[in-house]
């Protein structure tokens, strides 16, 4: 068949397909006026166009026609293979099942992240409790002064510096989100530096938190410090460890890819890691809510410790059990 006959025979089809594409490309504006287009026919029409493109190439029709058909096929491909997740149900399913499942699949990375955060924290905590000087190896005098001021029992709102005393809970909420979720994201991303970045951030945060805890307990500020951190600690610390574990997964793909190329391993691990980061971010969101609206409140110490303990149990049960048993492949 000569090109001209081919074009003449198929022109009506191409025209109909173009109308469909304009409708699909147009977005909301095009969609408002009642459609003259037959959307049901789009997939069949698209595969016909693909056939025409292949034919035009093998029959050596003119480059211009081939380019036109290529353009038509390319514009349709975008629409036929679009991924359109249902946002709300997907988010619920994600937290209910996907996130804890993926985390359990990478239990080793998770425990490494926990160890990198908590072991330095414990060691530094004990050291700072026993030795007055050791905290100055991490912070300078000004920082230590600020820290002491934060948890001075004379404060109306523990955990907030003197100039932040007047800030409302909501302002602090914004601050915690920006700061903590940012740390979570960074400790994931820096895992791309062969895992070293994540490990450094985890250890560094562990040392700092440990030093602060040990130092303040030594000063007898423990009452304000521990009641303040007990509420949000379970979510925040676990989430930071999980973000770091996600970064360690990236590092592992580069250092020990196994029987895959490094690039393939990185892609595969990144897909799981981003699930962990997303889950950790939502946990940090929860932690920020607790930290802003509960931790600095005036509930009695026993209640606060109880809430903190319940938090640890809840986190452990959630991460260990959620999403088990159902295999709907969500």
């Amino acid at each position: 068949m000569k090109q001209q006959q081919f074009e003449a025979a198929n022109a009506p089809l191409w025209h109909e397909y173009r109308l469909l594409l304009e409708y699909l490309d147009g977005g909301a504006k095009a969609r408002r006026n009642p459609a003259q287009v037959n959307l049901q026919g789009f997939p069949a029409l698209y595969s016909t166009i693909c056939g025409h493109y292949a034919l035009a190439r093998t029959r050596a029709y003119s480059p211009g026609l081939i380019a036109d058909l290529h353009d038509l096929a390319r514009r349709g491909y975008r629409h036929l293979y679009r991924r359109r997740p249902r946002v709300l149900s997907a988010a619920l399913g994600f937290m209910a099942a996907d996130f804890p499942r993926v985390l359990r699949r990478h239990a080793l990375a998770f425990w490494m992240g926990m160890a990198l955060l908590f072991l330095p924290m414990l060691a530094m905590g004990v050291a700072a409790y026993l030795d007055e000087e050791i905290i100055y190896s991490l912070m300078d005098g000004l920082q230590v002064g600020n820290l002491e001021e934060l948890y001075d029992p004379a404060n109306r709102k523990p955990g907030r510096s003197r100039e932040r005393q007047a800030d409302t809970d909501f302002a602090m909420f914004g601050f915690y989100i920006m700061n903590n979720v940012g740390i979570g994201f960074r400790s994931f991303a820096s895992g791309l530096i062969f895992g070293v970045g994540s490990a450094v951030i985890l250890v560094f945060n562990g040392l700092n938190i440990g030093a602060a805890a040990g130092h303040l307990t030594r000063l007898d500020y423990g009452g304000t410090f521990w009641t303040f951190v007990s509420g949000h600690g379970p979510y925040e610390l676990t989430a930071i460890a999980i973000s770091g574990a996600a970064g360690l997964l990236l590092g592992k793909a580069l250092l020990a890819p196994g029987r895959r190329s490094r690039l393939a391993a990185l892609r595969e691990n990144a897909r799981d890691a981003i699930v962990l980061v997303g889950g950790a971010a939502i946990m940090l969101l929860l932690a920020a809510v607790v930290e802003a609206f509960w931790s600095s409140g005036s509930a009695p110490a026993a209640v606060k410790y109880g809430v903190g303990l319940a938090g640890w149990v809840l986190v452990a049960l959630y991460l260990a059990l959620a999403g088990r048993g159902r295999h709907d492949g969500a």
Binding site: K2, Q3, Q4, Q5, C50, G51, Y53, A54, R57, A60, Y61, S62, P63, G64, L65, I66, A67, D68, H70, D71, A73, R74, Y77, R78, Y81, R82, R83, P85, A166, D167, T168, F170, A171, M172, F173, G174, F175, I177, M178, V181, G182, F185, R186, F188, A189, S190, L192, I193, G197, L250, L263, L266, R267, A270, R271, A273, I274, V275, V277, G278
Partner: protein
């Protein structure tokens, strides 16, 4: 159709055809980045007065800053396929099979910006882009994404309307394509260039000048429409 030195990356679709993806290089991407930074700075400036709403406003402002810092590219890429800066530069982000980008891939490539930014002003990212055949930075490599140039409607092709003339026997496919391509593009070429190209194609018969042009157009007409002049 198979350029060897080009940035087009071919991707086979489930329909068994090769779709060409035009990958965008570092310069338009850097410009898009600058545009995005300007837009974000403007938004920061607009949001800063929230602070006069006292504490609630301060909280809102901090939340907005967080969104601008981390979520701005993700939201726009998943929603519109590109950030405003990329859109202005005619770029679009897709999965490496050419499908529109989804949330996980967009999160990966944008969070890993932190590493691409190191040690200064996207140093790592630039090196990765220059080393990779498809101009991918580390975030793109991990997420499996590409940044493409969106071609606005390409040049309309001229109709082949000359009276058919039988081409020489034994023309290869490549020669036929060259002849057809010439006929479609000849109206857009300058006269001198048109004649020069036509003379290359008609070397064997030795036509010169406009005669050569007419002959090549005749051949193209024969190839596209056949010997018989059908009634139009």
């Amino acid at each position: 159709m198979q350029p060897s030195i080009d940035t087009i990356r071919f991707n086979e679709t489930p329909e068994g055809i090769d779709l060409g993806l035009r990958v965008a290089g570092p310069v338009p991407r850097a410009l898009a980045l600058v545009l995005d930074i300007v837009i974000r700075m403007a938004l920061y400036l607009i949001l800063t007065p929230l602070i006069v709403l006292a504490d609630f406003g301060l909280g809102l402002m901090l939340l907005a800053f967080f969104g601008l810092e981390w979520l701005y590219p993700v939201v726009f890429e998943v929603w519109r396929g590109a950030t405003p800066g990329k859109r202005a530069m005619g770029l679009r982000v897709v999965h490496d099979d050419g499908t529109p980008i989804g949330l996980p891939a967009s999160m990966i490539r944008n969070l890993l910006r932190v590493v691409d930014f190191l040690p200064l002003l996207y140093g790592v990212g630039l090196v990765a882009v220059l080393l990779d055949r498809d101009f991918r930075r580390l975030g793109d490599l991990a997420a499996g994404t590409l940044v493409l140039r969106v071609d606005g409607g390409h040049q309309p092709r001229g109709a082949v309307v000359a009276a058919p003339v039988a081409p020489p026997l034994g023309l290869g496919l490549e020669a036929q394509q060259a002849i057809l391509s010439f006929a479609e593009r000849s109206q857009r070429l300058s006269e001198a260039r048109r004649i020069e190209l036509a003379e290359v194609l008609t070397q064997a018969s030795g036509d010169r000048g406009e005669l050569a042009v007419a002959r090549v157009r005749g051949w193209a007409s024969w190839l596209a429409r056949g010997r018989m002049q059908e009634s139009r």
